[in-house]
Subunit: 319 residues, 2 copies
């Protein structure tokens, strides 16, 4: 088995080799720009890892790994438009670098290209296609809920978890299931790996929420507190609002405020209600669920260890 880092590098090289060269240049070149912004290449790496877990060849899984990375980037391009985000990882977003039409249309063709890659993948095509399609639909549904929550006053924790499951966790889970299918895993194992990835994906997203409040700027790569400033309904804010005696609502309803002052005040309220501890507990609960599922997967011990170590890579992280 290759290490996570080796798989990430194998994928990064493949992605680079596959950069778009065709015409019309103004349709495809923007996707090259966006894809090179980078990121951890988490989903394709986990897909390749899942193929190797079941003794499949990673060469045969590379097109599917490209598919999930294309798909992920398609969602980022369109989400950035919907969020009016000016930058991502220090680079201009697509609509900022180019324009709205490019962000829409280059994003569209990237989605179709993702499907095309699934078609080029070795393995049971109908199965691969079914997982990919279901996942793609759910991610759109998750994004819809995310948009709606911005203007919904009472979002419950249950609704929030379902939103991050759809918007984020299912793509991670789907990538692992696709990898398992390419490795010719049994249906039971593939489904268990999916459920494992789903729970880990939720824990991953909760960790993102925690890092946005408590992360180290130099490690995370962005100023902490963005979610608090924007009143983003994270697990932390939802729980704090449940316990709020009114001071948090007051800060949320303020139209004009000093950003540093608001951030400090809200963090003080979080401390008062032990919100960080609560979020860490919730994170642990999903990690535990994933471990229970891991126990049921039929794999040799050394491979289970690799999966167990994923928790450190995905959840117990500083960035």
């Amino acid at each position: 088995m290759h290490s996570i880092e080796e798989l990430r590098e194998t994928f990064a090289k493949y992605l680079n080799d596959q950069s778009f060269t065709q015409e019309p240049k103004n349709l495809y070149e923007p996707n090259n720009y966006f894809l090179q912004i980078g990121g951890k290449r988490l989903r394709p790496t986990l897909l390749l890892l899942s193929t190797e877990l079941f003794d499949g060849k990673i060469e045969e899984a590379l097109p599917a790994a490209l598919a999930v990375e294309y798909f992920h980037n398609f969602t980022l391009i369109h989400d950035d438009v919907m969020d009016k985000a000016p930058s991502r990882r220090g680079y201009k977003t697509m609509h900022e670098k180019y324009n709205l039409n490019t962000a829409i249309l280059s994003g569209d063709v990237l989605l179709v290209k993702a499907f095309e890659c699934i078609g080029k993948t070795h393995g049971d095509f109908r199965k691969l296609f079914a997982v990919f399609t279901k996942t793609a639909i759910e991610v759109c549904e998750g994004q819809q809920y995310d948009i709606e929550f911005e203007t919904t006053e009472n979002v419950t924790q249950e609704e929030y978890i379902e939103m991050i499951r759809l918007k984020s966790a299912v793509l991670l889970a789907g990538s692992m299931k696709i990898g398992a299918i390419i490795g010719d895993a049994s249906e039971e194992n593939a489904n268990l790996l999916y459920a494992y990835g789903e729970n880990l994906g939720i824990a991953f997203q909760i960790q993102d929420d925690i890092l946005d409040c408590y992360g180290d700027e130099s490690l995370v790569g962005k100023l902490p507190g963005g979610d608090i400033i924007q009143n983003k309904k994270t697990l932390l804010l939802i729980e704090a609002l449940n316990k709020d005696d009114g001071q948090l609502k007051e800060w949320i309803s303020k139209k004009e405020f000093d950003q540093k002052e608001k951030l400090q005040a809200v963090l003080n309220i979080y401390d008062q209600y032990h919100i960080k501890e609560y979020a860490l507990e919730q994170r642990s609960a999903y990690v535990q669920k994933s471990e229970q599922l891991l126990n049921q997967i039929n794999l040799p011990g050394n491979k289970k260890t690799i999966l167990k170590d994923l928790v450190n890579y995905l959840v117990i992280r500083d960035f």
Copy 2:
């Protein structure tokens, strides 16, 4: 064999039965709105017709027919955003009726749903998927060229034909090929039907350009001359510019003008250079190419007659 009208009605009923009912409502309901705006359901109807030509069952082709209609509507929704179009067939466009985010995201999920429908279709899945994916990519490429032509000074007729081939004709051709594949046509027949549809699709689009200048408002359903007012590079404008002694360029470069006056002046120039006759000749040339291809298709005479009659339905039309 069913008539075109019967096939259109069968599809319309199926489309209606398949209207989206799932959550999140604000993601799916807008697509129901947009899909009911209507249109001629040309692509699904031709798909069903093509299945029947090769003695396939239309019930088995209905999901694929839905796929091409979903795909077509996805392109309309996103194109309307890119064109900043306020209305379509007398109804508000998606971004006008709802908002930009809905037009983007509901469009996105409609594209994925189109793929899902291909997955539900009876027949050689890899083949169906390949045709659908290639078509979808080309339609995006065609839209890109269309956008670029708005700000390109010298668009040649060749470039224009290639643009409408990609943006419009390939989806018509792809729909017919998909129908043929479902009917288990030979590869040669399916490819000939594709080429037939492609040429007819180009003639169809040229007819659209002609109708925009010379159509009867009460039949076409919109004021004629929109393309002329907006300096849209149609086959007619491109040819007229080739022959222009300067008066057309003058009208094109005017920032302020009386719409009726410009329309009449440009139509006069068109008359002077016999532009309508030229466009009709070009239209006939593509119809003739399609007839040559039709001769090569291995089908009984009565079925060829049905295909031949399509020309009246698609090209020699008043609306």
